[in-house]
Amino acid sequence: MWLRVALVLGIGFTVKAQVSYERLRESAREPQNWLTYNGSYASTHYSTLNQLRTDNVARLELKWVWQANSLEKIEATPLVVDGVMYLTDPPNDVVAVDARTGRVYWRYRHPLPDGVAPCCGRVSRGVAILGNTLYLGTLDARLVALDVSSGRKRWDVKVADYEQGYSLTLAPLAIKNNIIIGPAGGELGIRGFIAAYDAETGKEAWRFKTIPEPGEPGHETWNGDAWVHGGASVWLTGSYDPELNLTYWGIGNPGPDWNPALRLGDNLYSDSVVALDAGTGKLKWHFQFSPHDGFDFDAVQIPVLADLNWKGKPRKAMFWGNRNGFFYVLDRSTGEFLFGQPFVKQTWAAGLDEHGRPIRLNDRMPSAEGSLTYPGVQGGTNWYAPSFSPVTGLFYLTAWEDYPGVYYSWEQPYEPGKWFAGGSVRAQLPSITRQEIRTLGPESGYGAIRALDPATGKRVWEYRMNDVSDSGLLTTSGGLLFSGNREGHFFSLDAKNGKLLWDRYLGGQVASSPVTWSVDGQQYVSIASGHAVFTFGLPGSQ
């Protein structure tokens, strides 16, 4: 591992050692670091650091700002490892930053070939670390291994063909000796998969196809050749339960998005969570949130793993606030549906049946004339991180409330690498772009951070914002919740009751998740806003 030593001279230097699999598995033992995209394999976005508390968070002050070279949106959540922050400068450069000062140690440049046209933004959500290597997925669909101390490339393998619409936007997940990744491109007629690569050599270890091929179970959920370009992309990092040796991944929408008549059937494993054996990639179970989806309701949310007392018995649970507007609790050992209910206004389903299958209202499907449906295309929530705090026992998520879309459907022939969505959606709220000026009325929808009791799904509190938010959440054992929003605010709430404790206007859209970490015994919290990363700490710290 890297050990940071502060000498009396005030010099920080590092001693080379490795981030082993064991360190990743036991990441809770080193809360000074943020070792994976989601902070831990359980993806709770919770930290045991408690120097920042409800009674002192109002004293937070800016420590440093790192400015990106790029003017693309930053969706990366940084890693922090023994005093070094690693993050992507969009689209696919990687920088190592001195976490004490914000100064850059090195930069890896990844030029993209002409013709790279990812469906949904030139974004990268970050890197993974294992041993002394960083792993980056790129928009030209390559997996790149970088030396952690120099940024030099160790190896670089092709994962898929970018000219067919494949791109890698997620931060990979390192488990044991494998680096796991999957492709985006759900609006470009790709066929998704989750693949593991040997961390040393870059050789493919296994590949799970997110659309079953002829002869495989589940293939019958597609009519004709619809499965060939059926989407089911993978664009957000999964979770892992070391005891069960299962890794969990949310799967994207079926394609074409808004013309489900072109792909009759449930369209497995689109809009599902899949539980895979981490060693072999074999499917242990799956749960499909939105069968035969017509609304682009990717199940691309972070699987949050926590234990729950369910009807008097402890359960290994999974909490899931879905883009389709429902909150679900599953048993993560078996995939059993425990319960689910809406957490925002939704009008596409009458509810869920006893197995968690939506009772859909077919007259709400996209149509040539347009079908007004809640939630709109960005969903009740989306890819940004939710959080679970074992201190409060609450599940937190960013919600888009009272947010409608008008869904249109049309014919859609497939052309390689071209837009393949079968329709469109009209909404007053723009999808991702930050609006510097916001004058919409409340009927367009609003953003809120909501705390749910995961045992009942009931709302405990809400922090309401004027605009919607694409920011993830972080909770800490200091009783705090941190988040940002599209307006450009970064703030802290009391995790118990949602009361605003501290706010700073940073002026740029927040479209990633806050992280907390410590160096030299001082706790910091960092957030990407606009084209920069801002780091805050208490007065007196570095």
């Binding site: 469109s424 004058t439 009325g441 914002m465 004027n466 605009d467 605010h489 706010d503």
Partner: protein, 168 residues
């Protein structure tokens, strides 16, 4: 008419094109007199609206409106200004905690604050925590010109606005 085998995207592009045909250019056969329209505009509209670089700031700049709105929409805006007010021109009436009333066009809003421009053109910052009440007004401050301008005069104004759009 035969059926066309257009792709969804092609249909959408066609719809966009057809919609563009419906803008006020398509109504250029109207009999309005642009020159007379310019004079009517200066007398009745320019206190609030700029056009071709001249006029007030409180309403939308109308220099290019003729290329973005149909004749029917422009006519409706003259006779029923409240029918379709863009949210960027909604106004607020705010009451401060000390009881003062402040009015203006709502230029921007977030969770904590409002930025407005009052009727004297002053830019004002309002912190929501200092406000007792905020009312969002979606009506237009513009009066209806039904009965104030004749049909022919309205056509003159519209003809002038269309002629501006053509010069862009």
């Amino acid at each position: 008419m035969p059926a066309f085998s257009f792709s969804g995207l092609q249909i959408w592009e066609l719809v966009t094109h057809v919609r563009a045909l419906g803008i006020a250019h398509g109504a250029s056969h109207l009999k309005g007199d642009p020159q007379a329209g310019a004079a009517i505009f200066r007398a009745n509209c320019s206190r609030c609206h700029a056009a071709a670089g001249d006029g007030g700031l409180s309403g939308p700049d109308l220099t290019t409106i003729g290329s973005r709105r149909s004749y029917a929409e422009l006519r409706e805006s003259l006779t029923d200004p409240d029918a379709d007010v863009a949210s960027a021109y909604w106004s607020v009436v705010a009451t401060t905690s000390t009881g003062r009333t402040v009015r203006g066009i709502r230029l921007n809003e977030d969770t904590f604050s409002l930025q407005i421009r009052d009727e004297n053109g002053r830019l004002l910052s309002l912190l929501k925590r200092n406000l007792k009440d905020v009312e969002l007004i979606r009506r237009s401050p513009m009066p209806s010109f039904a009965g104030k301008l004749s049909d022919a005069q309205m056509d003159d104004v519209i003809a002038w606005l269309i002629s501006l759009g053509r010069r862009q």
